[in-house]
Symmetry: C2
């Protein structure tokens, strides 16, 4: 396994592989790898000749008062995990390499980004689509892997790929959870022991939503209300949003027809976590 | 020569050529080809194995009150010219093929677009960079050709290519002019005979700017003032902007150091034309 920090070298590497007829699988991350990322890498490893993992904490997707400067990072540990999982290249560029002085081009998906995290974090998805578009041009992948925990992110990137006529297959893999159901996240490491225990209410509330739906409940507000009762039982947890939306356009729905996405963003102490589940999708946990 | 209307077929064609080790030269146009376009095609023909010419009148780069619906088009004549000049493929997609229902992804260069045509035509360059980015993904060119008449467009696209880490060489070719100096433009065909004669003042004023500069005049306002006198001598011509800017960042300058871009946008009757020249650049006419 090699670590490449230079855009030019990364381009040459992937173009040589592509010229040799190899397929390239790409797992974009902000580092601090956990079981969720490992599931993405394992799938990329199975489905491609070459696996590139990028590690870049992207300033363009953090708001002014968010945790960019504090985002956790441990390259040494990430390298070990990547090596064990059979990654070929870690692409680990500096901020200056990605956003040189006078950088000024942005890619924005105008639909799909007005609700949920797009509403809570103005400009966030513009930062996400911009960095992902750049990484696609550098790495030139055949397949790219994202986790369902960031459901809206996956939908937005899918839309960018289709709208901009890119030749990339996007794979979205299921959320990987801790034993008590908490979705794996790099930010979990910041939680105190008590907060960590309390955080389990997020998944508990999603399970309640699934139970209610399977018992025949179709009214979004009734489901949301039961979920809120569960979440609000923990004082350290405050809801940012708790929404039930259609999984295609992410618009709020009142009555659930076939499928619906239930999604939560909540602050546990000072740490913002997100989670979701798709009602009417039996593969979802 | 073949006309391809389908994005999927265009992708397959260019990918097969690339796989065979061929280079692809790309000339994006809105059709109604004139000598300016022909100069681009001739250069693309010389420098590449395959030449793709696109014809697409891009609604996203026209403002609400602009001439999108009236933009001239004559595919049959364009086909003849393209064939004569050795074009391999005309890519001629429908509006629905490029912007299907629910289309919503846009590429925007935030610097460079606040002055000149970016100021007069809000949203214009966002439309330009979006369509060019899409066409790049479809056609996958090695080299792309633009004319210097749209100086700001070329600079903005160059910035997009660099910022988004695209592997495309941009070539900007000199303005091709009529005998009296009027820059070739598809829109010239709309001018009445009198307007056509009057339109020559645009280039006449640019020549005056070059003369004054070569005589030692460095003051932008003095040069602009002399130019205005020439242009305003024709009643049918009204200036939209007449600016002297630095050719890198397109910011207004007061005193010319080495190089400066002099650019005009003017309405001749109801037809908006643009023209420019670079002072301090001896290759410029």
């Amino acid at each position: 396994m090699k670590v490449i920090r230079d855009i030019g070298k990364m381009k040459i590497y992937s173009r040589i592989k592509k010229k040799d007829g190899k397929t390239v699988g790409f797992v974009p991350t902000m580092g601090c790898l956990h079981e969720g990322h490992i599931s993405l890498i394992k799938n990329a490893r199975k489905q491609n000749d070459v696996v590139v993992l990028s590690i870049f904490v992207n300033p363009a997707q953090f708001g002014k008062n968010e945790d960019f400067s504090k985002y956790p990072g441990d390259l040494e540990k990430d390298e070990e995990i990547a090596k064990t999982e059979g990654v070929d290249i870690i692409f680990y560029p500096s901020e200056k390499e990605i956003y040189p002085k006078e950088y000024s081009t942005f890619v924005n998906v105008e639909a799909l980004t007005g609700n949920l995290c797009g509403k809570s974090r103005p400009g966030h998805f513009k930062g996400v689509t911009t960095i992902v578009c750049k990484l696609f041009h550098v790495i030139n992948p055949d397949m790219v892997y994202f986790g369902q925990k960031d459901f809206q992110q996956a939908v937005v990137i899918k839309k960018m790929i289709v709208d901009l006529n890119m030749d990339i297959i996007l794979k979205v893999l299921p959320i990987v959870r801790e034993a008590d159901g908490l979705a794996m996240s790099s930010r979990n490491s910041y939680l105190s022991k008590k907060e960590r225990n309390d955080a389990a209410v997020l998944h508990k509330s999603l399970r309640r939503a699934r139970d209610l739906f399977s018992e025949g409940e179709k009214d979004a507000n009734s489901i949301r209300s039961s979920m809120k009762d569960i979440i609000n039982s923990k004082e350290s947890v405050s809801i940012d949003y708790l929404k039930i939306v259609d999984p295609i356009w992410l618009r709020d729905i009142k009555t659930i027809q076939n499928k619906a996405l239930v999604c939560i963003a909540a602050n546990i102490g000072k740490i913002r976590l997100i989670d979701n589940t798709v009602l009417g999708d039996h593969e979802n946990q």
